[in-house]
Amino acid sequence: MTLFGTGVLKGLIVTLKNFATSYFRKPDNGGIFTVQYPEERAKEIESFRNFPFLVYDGTPEKIRCVACGICERECPPKCIHIVMETEAGTGKPAKRPAVFEIDYGLCMNCGMCEDVCPFDSIYMDHAFEVTASDRTQELVRPKETLLKSNDYFLKIRPGTATPVDQKRRAAEEKKKTAQAAATPPKTNP
């Protein structure tokens, strides 16, 4: 038979121990596990996904997105809005988005757009400090704020970006050689 009151004392000892260990133990070993946020930051995990962003190569003009609208259609909460640009003279579709907006207030960070995009142009970002004071204006992000360079993409998610880059380079090489093959070689007279 255990003495009445031992359970209570055991509990007191546990909390006393934790009080003491909080001064010298490491966080993963029973020490203080809170992170002092603005000064310290939690370890950034590569696969972390927050809101989507658009990738461009080199300069913002060279945008990968061709405004095909697949992400717009597949987005479960329908937070993407795309309008394709038309060529100034001809009025033909220019395979470039004139408008590309994502409503961050609506987006649920599921990553569907990233999965379905056939042109490797939309990916999930790491940036999570996206507060806004207005729900309808500031949280609807236009193309300009969504665009981020490929270098940034390589920096935050090297594991995803490097194979994509290799694939794209290989495709470009292939295209070049195909072009080279297609143009008839100059025949020597």
Partner: protein
Amino acid sequence: MINTKSLEGSQMLEINFGPQHPSTHGVFRMNVFLEGEKICALKPVMGYLHRNHELIAENLPYAAVMAYTDRLDYFNSMANNFGYALAVEKLADIEAPERAAYLRVIMAELARIVNHLMLIGFLLNDLGAFFTPVLYAFREREKILDIFEEVSGSRMMCNYFRFGGVKRDVSAETLAAIKKIVAGFPAFLEEFEALLTENEILCMRCQNVGVLPADLAVNAGITGPVLRASGVNYDLRKVDAYGLYDRFDFKVPLGKKGDVYDRYYVRVLEMRESLKILEQALAKIPQGDILNKKALPFLKAPRNFKPAVGEAYGRIESPKGELGYYLVSDGTPQPWRYHVRAPSLINLTVLEDMCVGQKVADAIIILGSIDIVLGETDR
């Protein structure tokens, strides 16, 4: 504003616990009739968090629904994903490859540990402890959530499962990290139990409070730890042996009385069993594909996934009970009918039976011990 209503002829105090109340676990309301501190009648009122989950799902391709199932029981999205993936796989006759199946079990069991930890923490808060058990639970949960973030990209809304597999393969380092967590967890459980299990105040408060007799539990369709605490041996991991659960050696802990204390302790023991499963799974996990070849094309084009006309019911032993997904396909990319059997909702039906005759303080802990998440209850 304040009035006493007469109920069954006697004068009683009617109190609304919630929807704005610190311990109704979200936006839940209990309409309680009190005589002094004793509860004479109790009506649960729900629906404050209704988000039209089922109708949204019926208008989306099958793959897109996965992200919404995360939001059902937001403490263990991995288990929700598992159930939905099983249902769709049954409908379309796809099987997950071996490695993916192992990963699914690992994630589901980690989710179970997270869920039980949170439940016990918040139950203790309902009992009046000042956040200490919750924060100890958070300390350990944090480590598991880090794993979830590493494999799926998100800590709570994982969206990790796919039909015929999982979203992303798990690296050897991550597996090693899981192994480390599993190895270190028993020590934490010891500490946690030293703080709680034998505490006289906790025993006084929990033992013989909110007793749920086994026959009532079975008749009301209660599942999960609440049912097992009443002494009924019913665990879908054993009954259905879905996934790979028939390959692992684990036991089902059972309670006797079916009171709050049993419900608390059965969950502690379940965490220990989960650790056993995790150890075995981590030891045996093979190399290989993580996605069935049949399902691969649908990743890029979810709308091409059109299962044949038919119906399927996939169910798993979620940490809260039997979580079932019922799907009817009419051959289009969207399900024709989609229904969730939410354990939180069905376990809540016996709340009044357990509470009547107890004190106000007991109603709060009984509600806490059922383990409801309003996202799942209201959908």
